[in-house]
Symmetry: C2
Subunit: 187 residues, 2 copies
């Protein structure tokens, strides 16, 4: 089926397309500015967005996607506001925040929200645990990818080939959950 | 008149009450959870909130208030997300971001949104320029008050007596604008 992806982030469109295409699904970018609320969890942001899009009669099936990196010793910062923090102090700012901190455990999280034509909404969560390193490495990906190494790897998200990243990434895992749901429902 | 203040922040209630009481107005705290959107400006957050509250038929006249501290050399960080940043990395985290930065100019901004019983909405802006110092000083105020010295002063917001702070603060100035409007309209 064709799914409308509500986002202004081209990187997300490319990642989702790469994951969905092998299963015969296509992705269209839907240029709707969906309000994102300030909240402590991605789930709240996605719930509010889906309700708003449904109220606006935005063409379904559609997906919204919210993601962030949550650093344990920083009480989850930058979390839900990862993009804003990226656009202001940048990955370097996050490194500065961690300069004197040894425990650098962090977790990338992604929540996909699906609104179907019958008005039902569904959420799919993906998580990828790892750690923040001390410098930026790699040219791939986007956002905080150059400073994050997933558990069990020695390369950053930005150093992994896209296929390899998509298999283990937060967004990849959320997409697997969404794909399983779509297949089960025969959509 | 009595104005409903939509907030969960007791510090804001106290500040507004102190400013409005001399003019014969009272403030009631309204425990409504108004969604705050993620945006680059306080004005957008307040606009969305007023529209939402009006749609919910929340009892007017009411005020919502959003404020933040915008650091020039950090592209405005923490800005609209000042509270979240405060609750995660704290004022110390902001100091860490500025460790090697000499130009520490910053600006506290406050936007008050007023919804009247006739459904009209009005915004009042207040700004207080100053600088971020290198350590925390003073026990008064809340948030980033202990690390901010307003231009023309040598004490932080947290070291100034409340009356003195209210006269020059971002919130105090926004309130003066709101008071002038109320008086002019004979409300």
């Amino acid at each position: 089926m064709n799914i409308n992806l509500v986002t202004s982030n081209q990187g997300k469109v490319e990642e989702l397309t790469a994951i969905l295409r092998p299963f015969g699904h296509t992705v269209s970018q839907l240029p709707v500015k969906c309000p994102e609320i300030q909240a402590m969890t991605l789930e709240e942001v996605v719930d509010f967005g889906l309700t708003w899009l449904h109220g606006q009669k935005t063409p379904a099936p559609l997906i919204i996607d919210d993601a962030g990196v949550f650093v344990e010793k920083l009480q989850g910062f930058p979390g839900v506001y990862s993009r804003y923090v990226h656009d202001t102090i940048g990955p370097q700012g996050l490194l500065r925040q961690l300069e004197h901190i040894e425990d650098r455990q962090a977790s990338f999280k992604c929540v996909l929200g699906l609104l179907l034509e019958d008005g039902t909404t569904h959420k799919f969560v993906g998580e990828c645990k790892g750690r923040i390193i001390h410098e930026m490495r790699g040219d791939g990906g986007f956002g905080y990818d150059p400073i994050f190494i997933p558990d069990g790897f020695d390369r950053t998200f930005a150093e992994l080939p896209p296929e390899e990243k998509n298999e283990i990434s937060h967004r990849g895992r959320a997409m697997q959950n969404l794909l399983a749901f779509i297949s089960e429902k025969g959509l």
